[in-house]
């Protein structure tokens, strides 16, 4: 058996659905429903034109990106000091608290959908970006704390001491020395926050109606009296992959380090 066979098959099967999605996005719905074609017979960019010109479509992407970004920022801003405390100090119940944080990830999001909906409606946060961003913090902050704690514990305490000896105040040490030291950890944590928030659909869909509706929820509107507009749906799907691919490209080296530290 030639050496290239297994990897080739692996990549072939891995890429096949993505190729199919891409091919579909350049076909007309009639061609998709009409029969089996390996590549678009009647090449069209009409599907993409619709998405880029119709605000209800492209605002779906903006909405998703907005709450994902807000969520990532909040998660990191909260997780950095928390992870520092867990990695550097011993206090009563620290291990229990650390584990409890992680248990937040064990409950399915559906459990929280109803209480969140009720709570946000009553305080006027329903259908806002911040509502989804805050809801996603429930899963992302524990994850970010967990990842960052691993990276921070890899930095010897002597680094902190050296900085104090040099005269750095805590704030100066934390932002000028410590944060730059663990950039790869922050990169990994940011990546996971971004991805979880980007692919999470249930809470995002439940907590929004019009103003902050995510792209995945907007895709369901292609169902019309004449059936699904499959070409349009495929084009939207292709565009949804892009942000994730971008983020993976930028943090791929950090992720490898994260694996090496055993925390990802």
């Amino acid at each position: 058996m030639p050496r290239w066979l297994v990897p080739t098959l692996y990549i072939f099967f891995l890429m096949l659905p993505i190729y199919w999605l891409l091919a579909m996005s350049f076909k007309t719905t009639n061609e998709i429903l009409g029969g089996f074609t390996l590549w678009p017979q009647e090449f069209t960019t009409e599907n993409y034109r619709v998405i880029f010109t119709d605000p209800t479509w492209y605002w779906g992407y903006f909405n998703s990106l907005i709450y994902v970004t807000i969520n990532t920022v909040i998660s990191l801003a909260v997780a950095l000091p928390a992870a520092y405390a867990f990695s550097r100090f011993r206090f009563t119940g620290d291990k229990h608290l650390f584990f409890w944080l992680l248990t937040n990830r064990m409950a399915p999001p559906a459990v929280f959908a109803l209480p969140f909906l009720q709570l946000y409606s009553s305080v006027g946060l329903f259908d806002t970006h911040i509502a989804v961003a805050l809801a996603h913090c429930l899963f992302n902050i524990p994850l970010a704390v967990w990842i960052l704690e691993g990276f921070m514990s890899g930095v010897p305490k002597e680094l902190d001491e050296t900085a104090y000896v040099d005269g750095h105040s805590f704030g100066s040490f934390f932002f000028k020395i410590f944060v730059p030291t663990i950039t790869s950890g922050i990169g990994v944590a940011a990546f996971f926050c971004f991805m979880f928030s980007w692919v999470e659909l249930l809470l995002a869909k439940t907590l929004t109606a019009v103003e902050a509706k995510p792209i995945a929820a907007i895709m369901t509107k292609t169902a019309s009296s004449s059936g699904y507009e499959l070409g349009l749906l495929a084009a939207a799907g292709c565009l949804t992959i892009i942000p994730g691919a971008f983020v993976i490209y930028f943090v791929r080296n950090y992720i490898a380090k994260g694996f090496a530290l055993g925390r990802v």
Binding site: L159, E161, T162, Y164, V165, D166, G167
Partner: protein, 352 residues
């Protein structure tokens, strides 16, 4: 300048890291803390640095109580055993860090960093990150950061322990010059007696959280106050055995020899005999007494032969000049230079 520890203790939970300690350190020469790993050297250094607060007692600097003063306000330098530099900064910024915090002018910073870099031969590496340097260069960077500011207290916590032999020798020769004429109190922790002897100055021997003796290094080596100090300050480990004094003779197992020195004036009884390995050799000499034991382990270090041999219930170490062949498991005669014997009384205190 003086640094004084007054009745300082340190407890963490139920464990006592440092028992009540009094110590007064001055600017003249190095102040060496000599002790095994976990003896409490690092605890002492951290308390001197203000990184840890003593459980009780006071730390005074020039007579002023600084016990609660934060590390940042103490004007000190600290070099750790592990090479600690800021990984995100290049060597120049690493060395400049204390000066930047002190808001020195840009010109001053550049001049002083270059000075320190020249002394420690780091000039070609200023643009590199610590991760791109060898261990010796990393530790030299840490040392440069320690000398670049005019600190009044320099704490060196086994700075050479993690370096390879050649580099260690080279840096050890440099260290005293580096800190001479700076007017700073230099504290140097080490676990190697030979290092303490080479650096000179004053030594405090530390064992199990207690400072057993403090004084001039060579003085402590020659006349350790008690058994613990003698054990800390000997490498290979000092031979300790129980001996009887009867009349003007010393009885060590089956070996007898004449009592000389301070022990001669003491009453008969049981004493603890201590003798450094280099006084136990495989060649007879005037004044020597023969003992014999079963050779267990032998080591050869170029010009010296070291043999561990069992005598009764004790294991002794003999350190002879030249190369000697010992057969492991065989009985062998060794000769004690009786003038090298030191005696301790029933409480472990030196007989003087």
């Amino acid at each position: 300048m003086t640094l004084e520890l007054r009745n300082v203790t340190k407890r963490v939970g139920v464990e006592t890291h440092i028992y009540e300690t009094d110590l007064t350190l001055a600017t003249k020469g190095f102040n060496i803390l000599l002790g095994a790993t976990n003896a409490g050297k690092t605890s002492l250094i951290k308390m001197m640095a203000g990184l840890e607060r003593p459980t009780s007692g006071e730390i005074r600097f020039n007579g002023e109580n600084v016990t609660g003063v934060s590390t940042q306000k103490r004007n000190i330098s600290l070099v750790h055993q592990f090479f600690v530099n800021y990984p995100s900064m290049n060597v120049f910024d690493n060395i400049a860090s204390p000066l930047r915090v002190a808001r020195e002018s840009r010109k001053d910073i550049e001049r002083r960093v270059h000075e320190a870099a020249d002394i420690l031969k780091l000039r070609p590496y200023l643009k590199r990150r610590p991760a791109e340097l060898s261990g010796g260069q990393q530790q030299r960077t840490a040392l440069a950061r320690a000398i670049v500011k005019d600190s009044s207290l320099v704490l060196l916590d086994e700075p050479l322990a993690n370096l390879d032999y050649k580099l260690r020798e080279e840096l050890r020769d440099q260290l005293p010059q580096l800190f001479a004429d700076r007017g700073a109190i230099v504290v140097y922790a080490t676990s190697e007696p030979s290092e303490a002897l080479m650096l000179g100055g004053h030594t405090a021997t530390v064992m199990d959280g207690r400072v057993t003796q403090f004084g001039e290094t060579s003085g402590i080596y020659r006349t350790p106050r008690d058994v613990a100090t003698a054990q800390v300050f000997s490498d290979p480990p000092i031979n300790i055995a129980s001996a009887q004094k009867r009349g003007n003779e010393i009885l060590l197992g089956e070996t007898r020899f004449a009592a000389q020195g301070p022990i001669a004036a003491r009453p008969d009884g049981t004493y603890t005999l201590g003798i450094r390995p280099h006084f136990v050799t495989s060649t007879p000499a005037p004044n020597s007494a023969a003992v014999s034991g079963t050779v267990q382990v032998t080591e050869l270090s170029g010009s010296e032969s070291i043999a561990h041999f069992a005598m009764g219930n004790d294991v002794w170490v003999a350190q002879s000049q030249g190369v000697h062949a010992y057969d492991v498991g065989e009985k062998h005669d060794f000769y004690i230079d009786t003038t090298g014997c030191i005696f301790f009384d029933g409480h472990g205190a030196l007989v003087v």
